[in-house]
């Protein structure tokens, strides 16, 4: 089982770029949140790769913390989507201009 570190890091970077494109380009709040999940997964991948490469469990512990923070972020983000949905149906980001001057 010899997966080179470089290739896992390259995959992680590609996934992060895809997630960033999705976050910046999509118009739907829920799909923007899903793109954040893609980015967090890419970061977890690089943490696990470093943990494996360095033979140190601390990388995996940090990935576990990232997963915990991702779970709370999803709960708050989707709670906000539901609260916004009460004012205006749908989840388009263009509708959120109440704070624009």
């Amino acid at each position: 089982m010899n997966v080179p570190l470089n290739e896992v890091l390259g995959l992680s970077v590609i996934l992060f770029g895809i997630g960033m494109f999705g976050f910046l380009a999509r118009r739907n709040l829920i799909l923007m949140l899903i793109s954040i999940e893609v980015m967090l997964n890419a970061v977890n991948l690089s943490l696990a790769a470093f943990s494996w490469h360095l033979d140190d469990p601390r990388g995996q512990v940090m990935a576990l913390f990232v997963i915990a923070v991702a779970a709370s972020e999803v709960a708050i983000g989707l709670g906000l989507v539901i609260a916004l949905n009460r004012n205006k149906p749908g989840a388009a980001v263009e509708d959120l201009k109440g704070l624009r001057w």
């Binding site: 590609i14 960033m20 999940e37 790769a49 601390r58 576990l64």
Partner: protein, 176 residues
Amino acid sequence: MAEVSFYYMALASVVSAVLAVTRPNPVHCMLWVLSLFLHVAGIFLLLGAEFLAAVQVIVYAGAILIFYLFVVMLIDLPDEETDARLGRHWPLAAIAGLSFAVLGALAWLGPLDAFADALPAAAESALTDSPGEGAVARIGRALFGPFALPFEIASLVLLAAIVGAVVLARKRTSQP
């Protein structure tokens, strides 16, 4: 064998991620993200992170994705399939995403090899494991040893998220 399965899972996760951020139907997006999570869990297994793979499947694919699916089906998204699903500024977003491809090329073509070779020497002194322990036991020792305080703070973060989600999504019955 491990090489072949790594390349399969890397390719499948990249394809799943691309489809997940570009499909018009939100439910299809969720299913492609599920495929991405499962393939990333497979890569975790190849990297010797069995516990992380199990948590990935249980928490990400099990809990978080079901939460997303609940919300997608709870709220009405009528114009998602007919309207433009990407904003007008999407070429800028594509440039921002593709700028990471340069970093990926650096990792792939090898200018960072010296960096990767330098890493083990720096970490040799940080190893604290006792021999004969499995990976899960080492994670448990790290989690309840040096990481005990962050572990407790993570539970506080989760508690705050639970309370916050209830407060945000609750219907306000009595307006002042």
